[in-house]
Amino acid sequence: MTDISQTPSNMGGAAEQSKSGSLLTQNARTRKRNAAEMRFRGYGIAAIVVGLIMLVVLVTTIVGRGTGAFQQTFVTLEVELLESKLDKKGNRDLEDIKKVTTFGYAPIIKAAVQSKIEGLGIETSLKPKDMAGLLSKDAAAQLRAYVLENPDQIGQTVEFRFLAQSRVDGYLKGRVSRESIENDKNISGAQLDLVDALVAAGVVEKTFNIDFIIGADASDQRPEAAGIGVSMMGSLFMMLVVLALALPIGVAASIYLEEFAPKNWLTDIIEVNISNLAAVPSIVFGILGLAVFINYMHLPMSAPLVGGLVLTLMTLPTIIISTRAALKAVPPSIRDAALGVGASKMQAVFHHVLPLAAPGILTGTIIGLAQALGETAPLLLIGMVGFIASNAPETIADGLLAPNSAMPAQIYEWAKRADPAFYERAWGGIIILLVFLVTMNTVAVILRRRFERRW
């Protein structure tokens, strides 16, 4: 071992003396191994870069296409609520006022638009009907709802912010141009000229639209009025059902299997089946839900309760698997310690093992819930797609039993509709869904970090 003390100058001599060669030069074998390692690192970095690029493309696409949905074009108008049209008898009886349909409100709006344009001194060749065509078909309904709520305002002039129709909104967002509307019956070049003038006058403007987040879906004719809020409630009620069923059932099953059940062929079969269940395509659970919960048990169609039951079936394996992993991770010495001082098996589990496994269980549950929240396929089969709930459920029973949709189903519904304005809302809905999923997963990660390994 003299070559350690050798100086580099007489290294050659040292290499001859020592059988294995000098440490200061790499031999061929080492060079080959190092090259292989460098290559592998290169592949790894390349894989990560590809992954990151895809993520960036995904996020920029979603954000780029979806943020438009959070803004909407509004038209501000002063509307004179004519008594002669809305309350012909003049007695402010709500029943009588209700008899006036939205058609009865259309002339009032027409008059309001016309007077606004004339008041601003904008010259246009359009007929009053086409001027009012800039507004959403929702405008009359909005006005009627206001009058029914405030009958005492009849006869006054009130300022309103009406939604502009989707082509006007598209024009302000750059989705609609003068070339693209050549064959469009919904809007004309003259109307766009009017829009330009109204924008300049500050009557038409694009602002943040809270109704997209809290509102209900709207019919094919009124994409500008559609919101994701009600289907969000549908998702919320489904998640409550999933949490209330899957967590206790899943945890109880895992504790029994992990801590109490004898290890024999029967428990082996159960174990294998639980793992298999986690890999079953979700549409299978959907058709099972359709057959069992709706056709056999006659639970209401499209109800979040049924959706929740189906998603519970889907989430159970995830929760059971993660709970069992969390229980397994608790060192056996803790169980020994508890049994050693005379605790019963159940006391050992509930006093010592379960508290230590709780963060793992919670993490698994949250991830299971996040999975269920984004699940669409089973909802297709139990009718939670394509239903338009007009308002948010008022009671908990309503929330569970009244027909509703869910966020991913709502997104699917929007994406398949013809009007490009709905397409934009589908992307906006995806942003909201992703915000929920990322939040839930972040909470799961934080919980895991905070409570990890306390022994």
Partner: protein, 264 residues
């Protein structure tokens, strides 16, 4: 306690545990073969022998910790104060309150020092109120020879103590349930020599109140702390007798080979 003193250790106590024709099987393998042994009260009994000889297995039979292993089967009779602990009517939970256990690796609960010791008395209902529980905790920690070190931080986590302190905490936890027998499975194997000395000293003190059974790999330790020694080899109880005699004048050639380092 020096090695020489073991020569004149003689024991004249009553029998606490008596094992008759005990056989233990792990599935197909026969781990303990026909063991007969009498463990006396107020005595430290050491089980020695090479790894895998069945001494820990036999120890775990004495408080039925082997029940938690599905494939483990025990036959024969183990009498505690004349009662068969493998009788169908015996609840292992009650048995374990009477026969406490300290494990190889210190395993305090990830809770406060106080809660570690108070856990046993709590689940067995030994204290009627907080004051009594406080008293039990203090008494147990004093018996565990750790009171002075932890009295100012009873609510600090038990896992924050050093290895030796943790093991003494585990001993305190075991004595808190007022057991009659204390089983120790290599209690010092994870400890440094200083901590080992402290625990050994503690074991000698515990002898005054309990019957102590200790499994150890260290023959010096067996010689230092025990009055009776049992030598196990390949599942057989080769020799059982007074510690002094086993270490100075063993009857069986296998015992002699092990003690002198030729097998094991």
């Amino acid at each position: 306690m020096n090695d020489m003193s073991t020569l004149d250790k003689t024991v004249t106590n009553t029998t606490k545990i008596s094992a008759k024709n005990v056989n233990v099987y792990y599935g197909e393998s026969h781990a303990i073969k026909d063991v007969n042994v009498e463990i006396e009260d107020k005595t430290v009994t050491a089980f020695i022998g090479p790894s895998g000889c069945g001494k820990s297995t036999f120890l775990r039979c004495l408080n039925r910790m082997n029940d938690t292993i599905d494939v483990c089967r025990v036959s024969g009779e183990i009498l505690l104060d004349g009662e068969d602990i493998y009788d169908k009517r015996v609840d292992p939970v009650q048995l374990r309150a009477k026969v406490g256990m300290v494990f190889q690796k210190p395993n305090p609960f990830p809770k406060s020092i106080y809660d570690n010791v108070a856990y046993g008395p709590r689940i067995h209902g030994l204290a009627r109120n907080k004051a009594e529980l406080d008293e039990i905790v203090e008494k147990s920690l004093r018996r565990g020879a750790i009171w002075d070190e932890v009295k100012d931080r009873l609510h600090a986590p038990g896992t924050g103590l050093s290895g030796g302190q943790q093991q003494r905490l585990c001993i305190a936890r075991a004595v808190a349930t007022e057991p009659e027998v204390l089983l120790m499975d290599e209690p010092c194997s994870a400890l440094d020599p200083i901590a080992t000395a402290q625990v050994e000293e503690l074991i000698d003190e515990l002898r005054a109140s309990y019957s102590v059974v200790i499994v150890t790999h260290s023959m010096q330790q067996a010689a230092r702390v025990s009055q009776k020694t049992a030598f196990f080899h390949l599942g057989n109880l080769v020799e059982f007798g007074n510690t002094g005699q086993i270490f100075t004048n063993p009857e069986d050639p296998r015992t002699e080979s092990y003690i002198t380092g030729r097998i094991g």
